[in-house]
Symmetry: C2
Subunit: 150 residues, 2 copies
Amino acid sequence: MQNKRELFQVMTRRFGLLNKNCCSIGGHDISVAQSHILYEIDQRDHPSMQQIADILGTDITTFSRQAQNLIKMGLLTKQADPNDRRVSLLILTSDGQYIANTINQQMNSYLDEVFSYLTPFEQQTIIHSIQLLNEAMAKSDRCCSPIREE
Amino acid sequence: MQNKRELFQVMTRRFGLLNKNCCSIGGHDISVAQSHILYEIDQRDHPSMQQIADILGTDITTFSRQAQNLIKMGLLTKQADPNDRRVSLLILTSDGQYIANTINQQMNSYLDEVFSYLTPFEQQTIIHSIQLLNEAMAKSDRCCSPIREE
DNA sequence: TAATTTACTTGCAAATAACAAATACTATAA
DNA sequence: TTATAGTATTTGTTATTTGCAAGTAAATTA
């Protein structure tokens, strides 16, 4: 069997590059880090700063400033959690929402193209495999359920 | 079918975090960027600077300095290409080789653990799927065969 | 041999990072 | 109730990383 790491390294590098090329949308230049932040906020219902920072494995101080930048860009707003006023809930603005959607479309469209080179059966198999893999990775405590280090 | 991007985003983030946690080996602290550089050099036979920079999608000036750092750390050497003396061929030192091997082992060992949660059939399916996917991605010119931007 | 191109390096300024300390609020204990 | 400890986030500072512009050196082309 081919070296596992090699397979995954190639695959993840490709996705990494894809993200890197991304994105200039509606006059905004979006960095990789920013697109990940927008994605995760979009994915959740009014998450807190700490939550997103943990998910992305980013230091909270770094994340604080990243969030500030997105706010300056008009893509994000913060709102104090009424239940715990220390907590800032993160909410995409309509611009932010639009950008998150657009990036999502672009990524899906790229994936659609890639999948077009495969038979429907292969496509199914791959989707199913990634699902299995994600579940298996979630079981490992060695890494990478989105948690802080240590 | 579940949103494709979501699946891939989750998967690649996990690998990203795994790489991030990596590595302190033999007194050297290795960053993600550095581990990728070591990996790619190890993977090839005396590649040039430009080659590795292209593969990693890194600006050559940035890469130049990253390489310098690895040289300072004693993990890498450069050697002028006898056929074209503008070109610097990159060669891992034995320390660098050792570190590349160790990271490789760690990653494979993590993958082995993840795979241990799956049946042999599922394992086979996943490996096969990633292979298919890598081949399909290679066919797309939209992205990510390791090339420079534009 | 002059002009162009390619591979790489350096100067610099901007962006990004993380540690430590501060702020603001909440929870707990006496 | 008040002191104490803890959590969420921000800010000061400093180090690192980044990429553009400009430079050097070698190869190629005209």
